[in-house]
Structure formats: C-alpha cells, structure tokens
C-alpha cells in the first residue's frame, strides 16, 4: 500500500532538513530536546505554521484501506513557547468526495507536546486530507496534509 506524501494547504511546506531545524527552531522549543529529536526522525512527517511545528507518524506505518490505525503526534511551539499545547484533534476528510471518516478518533496527551490519536480508519482509496487542530491558550491552529491512499 503506497502512500504519496504531498504537502499542501494550511500546513505549508514540509522541510526535511535536520540542520535547518536545529538552527532555526531548536532554540524556540519548550521541550526542545525531545521535540527536535522527534521532528528530525525520518519516520515522522513534519508540518509547520508560523507558530507551530508538528510532526506525526502512523502506527502501523503503512496504511491500508479499511484498517484502523493510530497517529503519534509531536507539537513544538515557536512564538507560543510559554504556553503548553492543550489538545490536538486529528481527523481526515476526502475533499473530492465531500465526506470524512465514519469514525471519530480519540486523542490523548501522552507527554509534554505529545499526543496519540486512536480510532482512525480510511474506508476508501483516494486522496485524503489529514487535519490536526492544535489548541493552545484559547487559540486554535489547523495544520493539514494531503496524501493519496492507493488501492
């Protein structure tokens, strides 16, 4: 089952250079060491906004149509360094079809800036948009990532 990562939407571009991260974002992270290490890990996909850097990976890593999976999320704050991340909600939609999943994932905090969402299931092949709603200090930031779930 292939997964073609194509970054787009609110999340902006995916940057894979660990050197870039270390130079520019490392000093701004609240839980810098853990966050920087995870964000550099090749198994994670990275998204960013002006205020946040988010990295995630699927568990299990290879998605299959109709199979439940979880998402492991790490969020590193930039300008909001003093504010802990309260919540990260994960959801998925098929923009071309006009519907999302038939299941509501449950997200729990598993450490500072770390979250795990269980209960995701993509029931059709095609283009899916994975959405992360990050809530902190009364603010909400949405990061998204579109990918093709192949048959």
């Amino acid at each position: 089952m292939g997964l073609e990562a194509m970054s787009q939407g609110v999340g902006g571009t995916i940057i894979s250079s660990a050197i870039y991260i270390a130079l520019w974002y490392g000093p701004m992270l609240t839980h810098a060491s853990d966050c920087a290490l995870r964000i550099q890990a090749p198994s994670y996909t990275r998204l960013e906004s002006q205020a946040l850097v988010l990295a995630y990976r699927f568990e299990p890593p290879q998605l299959r149509v109709g199979t439940f999976f979880a998402v492991d999320v790490v969020v590193c704050t930039g300008t909001h360094a003093a504010q802990p991340i309260a919540e990260v909600l994960v959801d998925a939609h098929m923009p071309a079809h006009g519907h999302g999943m038939n299941y509501r994932p449950q997200s729990v905090a598993i450490g500072p800036g770390r979250f795990r969402a269980d209960g995701l299931m993509l029931h059709m092949p095609g283009r899916w948009e994975l959405r992360f709603d990050v809530r902190s200090d009364g603010q909400q930031t949405r990061l998204s990532h579109t990918f093709e779930l192949q048959e």
Partner: protein, 390 residues
C-alpha cells in the same frame, strides 16, 4: 496494425500476456485488479465468540439454522429467508417470515470478512446479528424465555447445548441461552464460503503473467472488468477481495418505505449497535481484550448516515437477485442501469460526490454485467468438506 503491435511488443515485452488477452489494462488498472485477490483470504475464528470454529458448535448451529422451534409459531427458521438454493437469500424483494420486513435478505457468505452486519450495520458481530431475527416479531417472533423453555424441554437439544458450551441450560439464564445459541448459529454461518471464481483465475493469471490462462477469461468480462476498475469507479467502494469496503453509502435508492415512513438505514443502525447489550464492548463478548471492538468504540453517528446502507459484497452476486436494500432492482442489468443513469438531482448528494451517472453505452452495460457474472463460484461449508444444502 499487426506490424505496429509487433513493434510495440518487441519494445515492451511485458505487454505480451496482456496483448494476448486483447484487453489492455493500464498499470493502475492492473494494480486495482490485483487488490481484489488473492482468493480465498484467511478467515480466522471470531475472538468474540468462544465456539467460533469449533466442530461441535458448527454442527449445532447448522441444526438450529434449519430448526423451526426457534420461531414462535413453529413455522419458520433462519432458512426461511436464507435458503441454500438461493445463495442463502430468498429471492424475494422483501423477506417475509411471520410478517414482511422492509428489506431484502442479504446472502450469508464469507461473513468472517465483515465488520458490520445487516443493511444498516446494527450489529458488530455475527452472533449479535443472529439474535435479531429470533426476537423480531416479524421474523421468528420468539423471546429468550421461549427459546430457553423449548431447549430445556428437549433432552437431545439440552444435551448438545451442554456438550458445546460446557454449562447446563437448566441453570443458564434465558438470556445466556439465547446468546449461546446465537454463537452456535454464527459458528455455522461462518463456514458458508464461496470458492474460486473465473475472475479469481484471471486475477492470479494476471499476477503471474500467464497469458494462456488470462485468455481463457471471456473478452466481455475483461472489458467489463476494465469499466469496473476504471471509468465506473465501482472498485472504490466494492473494494478488495470481498468486493466491498464494508462501510455504508447513499447510492440514490429511495429510503421511504411508505410515503410517511422512512428507513433510516445506517443512522438508525448506529443507534441500535451503540445501545445493544450484545455489542462487542458489552459483557457477552468472549474477547476480554476487545481486540475487534475498534469499529464500535469509535463509531460516530452523523446526519449524512441517513439513508446510507451497507456496501454488499459482489461475490456470488448473480445468484442473489433482487438487489439493493429494498430489493427494488430485479436484475444486474437494472443495477448497472441505475448507476449509468444516476439521478444527479437526488437528495443527499453532497457527501457522495463520487457518484455521478456513468453514461455507459449499451455494449458497456452488457460487458459490466458479464464481468459481474464471473464473480460466482461454488458455495462451500464446513471448510469445503460439505455442501451446506445436504
């Protein structure tokens, strides 16, 4: 044209098997076709049913399946609406036992591959689904107390019950007896499986590049298969080896039972499964880790689920007419026509943008039907050792 084909094959020798099969499939189409197999897939026992796969329970379940003592009036059994000669359907538009129901009988085949049961998915296990017709006043119309009384007063049934479950019907509660009988029924139904089909042989030949074997698959079926995985986009929902994604869609079949009564479909099914004491999160599951309970745990009821019905498997589809949840389409040709001429003005299209009229030509419609007919194989039971109708 022949010299052009020769040059093409010299340049791309990997196309030779497909060229001999005459219908040329793209790489994407080949990949999609291969995802519809191999067949049969593994069908391990159900962890929520402690007698799943047990020979004694299968035999007991088979006996119960045809036993009219499960009905209030001694006139009906599971086989009234799920007849072996009709691929475990009844050939009726809407089924009738004690009274007529609103829906068409689904075939009972390859059930271990399902996540939800019934057109509305009101059950999350086969054993829980097996309880519904026993209690439904329109179907068998019995009750837990009635079933327990009949079991306890029949020595042979009572002895078999103890042999299968290790407890006595004299001391088990009526509810426990009802659930246990449903688990025996499920153990039997799990053995009802379909064998390999002409499509499976073609699919494997395609995977192996066996041109001679591929050429044995009818040309019309190959053209129909190309529509199925291509312009028809049928395989997006009729996905995988069992030709279903196991979920629910609104495909434009009216869900008004009468002008004043609506079949809620999946919307009502979610409410029922969440409220059921027999769901996989409840105390009657035999799987303490609840390893198969994720669909029930994370299900959400949304407005768009109104009028959605489960995507049925297409295996054995030529033997299961009439079609759709209300049995309103008599033939496969009618089903293909429905999709070819899909009403774009129908309600609730926002969540089903994928469904657009296919505008198939008459020849394409015929080819698609011919392909669907190749999804039929032998019906097996007891792991293929016995015909279920014997």
């Amino acid at each position: 044209m022949i010299w052009l084909l020769g040059i093409l094959l010299l340049w791309c020798p990997q196309l030779i098997p497909q060229a001999l099969a005459q219908v040329m499939f793209s790489d994407t189409e080949v990949r999609t076709i291969l995802r519809h197999g191999p067949w049969p897939p593994a069908m391990p026992p159900d962890p929520s049913n402690r007698v799943s796969g047990h020979a004694a329970a299968i035999a007991f379940g088979r006996q119960l399946f045809f036993d009219t003592r499960l009905s209030r009036d001694h006139q009906h059994s599971c086989a009234t609406c799920h007849q072996p000669v009709h691929a475990f359907t009844d050939g009726q538009q809407q089924s009738a036992a004690i009274a007529r129901v609103d829906r068409n009988a689904l075939p009972l085949l390859n059930l271990r591959l399902q996540r939800w049961f019934g057109w509305d998915g009101k059950s999350d296990s086969l054993w829980a689904q097996s309880i519904h017709p026993i209690l439904d006043a329109r179907e068998l119309g019995a009750s837990a107390d009635l079933i327990a009384t009949r079991l306890r007063t029949d020595t042979r049934l009572a002895v078999t019950y103890t042999q299968v479950f290790g407890t006595s019907s004299a001391t088990d509660t009526p509810e426990t007896i009802l659930v246990n009988l449903a688990k025996a029924l499920a153990a039997f139904q799990e053995t009802l499986r379909t064998g390999r089909t002409p499509f499976d042989d073609f699919r494997d030949a395609l995977a192996q590049g066996d041109a001679a074997a591929m050429a044995r698959y009818p040309q019309a079926a190959q053209r129909g298969l190309q529509i199925f995985v291509g312009k028809g986009q049928c395989s997006v929902c009729h996905f995988g080896p069992n030709f279903t994604n196991g979920e629910f869609h609104d495909i434009g079949i009216p869900f008004f039972v009468t002008p004043t009564r609506v079949d809620q479909g999946r919307y009502g099914g979610i409410a029922l499964v969440q409220a059921s004491p027999y769901n996989l999160l409840g105390p009657f599951s035999d799987d303490p880790a609840r390893t198969t309970a994720s669909p029930t745990r994370y299900i959400q009821q949304l407005h768009r689920h109104w009028g959605e019905f489960r995507v049925p498997s297409l295996r054995q589809v030529a033997q299961t007419s009439p079609y759709m949840h209300n049995g309103s389409l008599p033939s496969l040709a009618d089903v293909v026509r429905h999709y070819a001429e899909l009403n774009e003005e129908r309600p609730h299209t926002e969540g089903e943008r994928l469904l657009q009229p296919l505008h198939l030509t008459p020849d394409e419609r015929t080819d698609l039907v011919q392909f669907l007919r190749t999804l039929c194989g032998p019906i097996l039971s007891y792991d293929g050792a016995r015909d279920p109708a014997e």
